[in-house]
């Protein structure tokens, strides 16, 4: 597994918020303001990086039987630590995020990365993957927060729960369109390298 793939996957190709659609509960609930989005994004990033790193470290010690309990244990301990640290260093932020900080434990993104990558890959790759996926999640969360906070002055709906779904849907659609254009661009480049082919069937437009 290459590091560039890890970064591309996390930030764009397999973005947790836009493609894998993991961790939707906090993504939708806490994206009503930028401040909240940044706070929860950073807390999730912290837990994800630390959990990927520690799970990669213990990957040779766990077998099938104790895999899930060990992972959940690691994630829960890290989340509780993040919660305590946030209370100590930024209490107002902790208050405004409320229940969503302890709920990081149940963010499927974190267990998902542990299960699909960190339990097989070495420390560096796993840590980088945590960072890339966490940042991917962070950027989507913050964009959602920014758009919703900005639009809610004009349309109240944007600040309400349905607004979160609609805005996320639009972001996913934009991502798909860009992805499609990129794909066409890439395949065009490929065929150019192979040399020009003369088209013999179908419409030419």
């Amino acid at each position: 597994m290459k590091l560039t793939t890890v970064w591309l996957d996390g930030l764009w190709d397999r973005n947790p918020g836009l493609i894998q659609l993991l961790g939707l509960c906090p993504l939708l609930a806490v994206s009503n303001t930028i401040d909240n989005a940044i706070g929860l994004g950073l807390a999730t990033l912290f837990v994800l990086v630390m959990s990927n790193a520690s799970i990669s470290l213990i990957r040779h010690l766990v077998d099938e039987a104790i895999r899930l309990p060990s992972f959940v244990l690691v994630i829960a301990a890290l989340t509780t630590s993040a919660e305590l640290l946030m209370q100590a260093f930024d209490y107002p932020l902790y208050q405004s995020l409320g229940i969503f900080v302890p709920l990081i434990v149940t963010n499927c993104l974190i267990l998902g990365r542990a299960e699909s990558l960190a339990r097989r890959e070495p420390l560096l790759i796993s840590t980088m993957d945590g960072l890339a996926q966490g940042l991917g999640f962070f950027f989507v969360l913050v964009s959602l927060g920014a758009i919703r906070e900005w639009v809610s002055d004009i349309v109240i709906l944007a600040a309400l729960p349905p607004g979160a779904f609609i805005t996320l849907g639009m972001l996913v659609a934009i991502h798909q369109v860009i992805q499609k254009i990129l794909k066409r661009f890439r395949s065009n480049n490929k065929s150019d390298r192979k040399g020009r082919r003369v088209r013999t069937t179908g419409d030419i437009s």
Partner: protein
Amino acid sequence: MTLRLALFALIASSLVGVIYVITEPMIIESKEDARNKRLYSLAEPLLGKGKIGNPINKVLANDAPVSLINPLPVTPINNGKLQIGAVIPFRALDGYSGTIELLLALDVERRIVGVRAIDYEETPGLGDKIDVQKTDWILQFNGLRYVDLSPTAWAVTKDGGQFDSFTGATMTPRAVVEALAETLAYFETYPEIVGSGK
């Protein structure tokens, strides 16, 4: 394998334990800070003349309104031996989404020094306009005494009172205004809770 799991549990819980021990005093301090910051910003006009004292639990008589918890934790503002005002928590039970917790600062003449919504679940963009961080709505009570207005004027405009209700969210300001009026009326009967002298 079970042994390994136990070992992981031990390591994980000691990590949490260590962080807990380190952060505990900081958390207590930041909670206290947050509380004091609120009290200070609320009672600021009184602080030129007095200092914030330690909260005292006052047992209220049976005719206390539902907006006040009993016993009531009153934070006095003291000038020497005289109490020149108080910061009092109260609540509006019938907000749009449950209870709204508020803080009220009164001077010795039971004039409103400040009111703030502290904890609420009201709809963002609608009911949360009671929050001073969103709009100035709650500042309009400053300087008022209960006796300055007729009892019927202590209501939102929709109910014939004199305080603005928000378009699309009447329940929130109605709950706040009614709870505030109830609370103020109670202290007109029991002024000694608020202060003892000038």
